[in-house]
Point group: C2
Chain length 214, copies 2
DNA sequence: TAGATTGTTAATCGATTAACAATC
DNA sequence: TAGATTGTTAATCGATTAACAATC
C-alpha cells in the first residue's frame, strides 16, 4: 500500500481547508478553485494546490474541485470517518470540558470516559459521560483497546500519569499538561501547550507595537 | 533598540526549555549544559545552544549555564514578568475552564473577565472571576486597554465575535474556535485548533501501526 | 479556439545539522 | 595543560514559492 508520506506542514493545513470547505456548503456553490480557496484563507495558491494534490486527483482545469468530493477525500484522508476511541485522563476543568465537548465526533474521535485520581470526581457528567477512578484505567483501556489518550493533569504528575497510560496500551497522547513527556519510541506525543502559543502571540504583539510606534 | 528578530521555531521551543529548567529547581543543582538539556528534551544539542544564545550571553564553557539566570532571561524574553491583561470571549465549558485556570499567571497573562452572548451566564465563577454580557465587551476592553482576547465561541459565530473584539481594540487573538478568522493587518491571530493536532496525531498513529505490522 | 486553472519541475528561502575554532 | 563545553561559520535538508507545460 502506497501510503505516500505527507509532510507535517501539509498535514497541519488539511484540516483548515476542510473546515473552510464545510463552511461553504450552505452557500450551495458546487465547485471551488485553489485560487479562491487560497485567497479566502490567506495562503499561497500554489501551496493550496500542492496540498490538495496530495489527497485528491479530482481537480479539473478551468472549474477547480467539486466541493463535496474534496470534503469527502479530506475526511477520509484525515481519518474522520473511521472513529477512534479515546480517554481523557485528569478530570479537572479542562478535562471535563473536553469530555463533554461534542465536536470531537466530527474529527473521528469518540471520547468514551475520563479518569481522575480523586475518586470523589467519579460519576456521570451533564452529557452522560463517565468519570472513573484512576484505578480503573489499565483495565478499561485494555478491554476497549484504547489507543488515544488526552492528558489533562497538572504538570507535576504528568510524567507519572503518562507512564500509566503507556502501560495501559495507549499509543498516542494529546498532552495538555505544561510538561515534557518521556515515552517509549513507539508512543506518540502531540503537545498542546497554551504557554507556547501565548509566547508566540505576545512576542509578535510586542514587535507589532514597537514597529507601529516608530 | 536591537530587538533581534527571533525565528518562530526557536520561539516555540523557548517555553519548553523554561518549563524544564523550572522543574529542575527543586533538585538544587545550580548549572546545566546545553548537552544535558538537549538529552532530557530529546532535541539536538546544537539547536539548544543556538536557541539559548538568542536569549542569553551567560553560557560558560565547561560549566554550562546558571539555571536561575537562564530562567530569569527566558522569562524576561518571553514577557512572563510584565503581565498582560486579557479577556475570554465565550463562556462555554472551555471558556470557563480557561477563565478559572490559575496557571496563566506564570505566563504573564492575567485574565480579567469573560463575556457571553447568553446573559444568563453572567455572574461570578468559583475563583471569583466575572462573566459579563457581551454588550459590555467594547466598553470594558476600551476602559482597561485590553489587547489580548481568547476566543472560545462556536465556529459559526467566531468571525462575527472576532470582528467585535477587533473593534474593541484587541490586537492579539488566541483562537480556539475551529474557524479561520479574517482580521485587519495589524491584528494577530494564533490558532489553537485541536482538530489540527488530532489530525497529526492520528495520521502518525496510523503510520506507526502500518509500519509495525509489516 | 482562448483562457482559466491544474499539476509539476526548478529555484529560492529558511531552518536544522555538522564541523570547528574559542575559552574557561 | 587537557578536555568539556560554548558560540559560530559552512553544509545540508526540507518546505515554500516561482515558472511553466498540460488540459478542460
Amino acid at each position: 500500500m502506497a501510503t505516500r508520506s505527507i509532510s507535517k506542514s501539509t498535514l497541519q493545513r488539511l484540516p483548515i481547508y476542510l473546515m473552510h470547505l464545510k463552511s461553504l456548503l450552505p452557500g450551495g456553490q458546487s465547485h471551488i478553485s485553489a485560487t479562491t480557496l487560497a485567497l479566502a484563507l490567506g495562503m499561497g495558491e500554489v501551496q493550496v494546490r500542492k496540498d490538495l494534490a496530495s489527497v485528491s486527483e479530482a481537480g479539473k482545469p478551468k472549474v477547480g474541485y467539486v466541493i463535496t468530493d474534496l470534503i469527502e477525500e479530506l475526511e477520509n484522508f484525515l481519518g474522520y470517518n473511521d472513529v477512534d476511541d479515546a480517554v481523557v485522563v485528569g478530570a479537572g476543568k479542562l478535562g471535563r470540558a473536553l469530555l463533554d465537548y461534542n465536536g470531537f465526533a466530527n474529527y473521528g474521535l469518540n471520547i468514551v470516559a475520563a479518569f481522575d485520581i480523586d475518586a470523589g470526581k467519579s460519576g456521570v457528567t451533564d452529557t452522560g459521560k463517565s468519570i472513573f477512578d484512576m484505578q480503573k484505567l489499565e483495565e478499561l483501556c485494555a478491554r476497549l483497546c484504547i489507543r488515544i489518550g488526552i492528558l489533562t493533569v497538572p504538570a507535576d504528575c504528568a510524567q507519572a500519569v503518562c507512564d500509566r497510560m503507556v502501560k495501559s496500551g495507549i499509543l498516542a497522547i494529546l498532552n495538555f499538561a505544561p510538561a515534557h513527556l518521556i515515552v517509549p519510541e513507539n508512543v506518540l506525543v502531540q503537545n498542546e501547550n497554551i504557554a507556547t502559543s501565548l509566547a508566540i502571540l505576545s512576542n509578535r504583539l510586542k514587535e507589532t507595537i514597537i514597529k507601529s510606534s516608530i
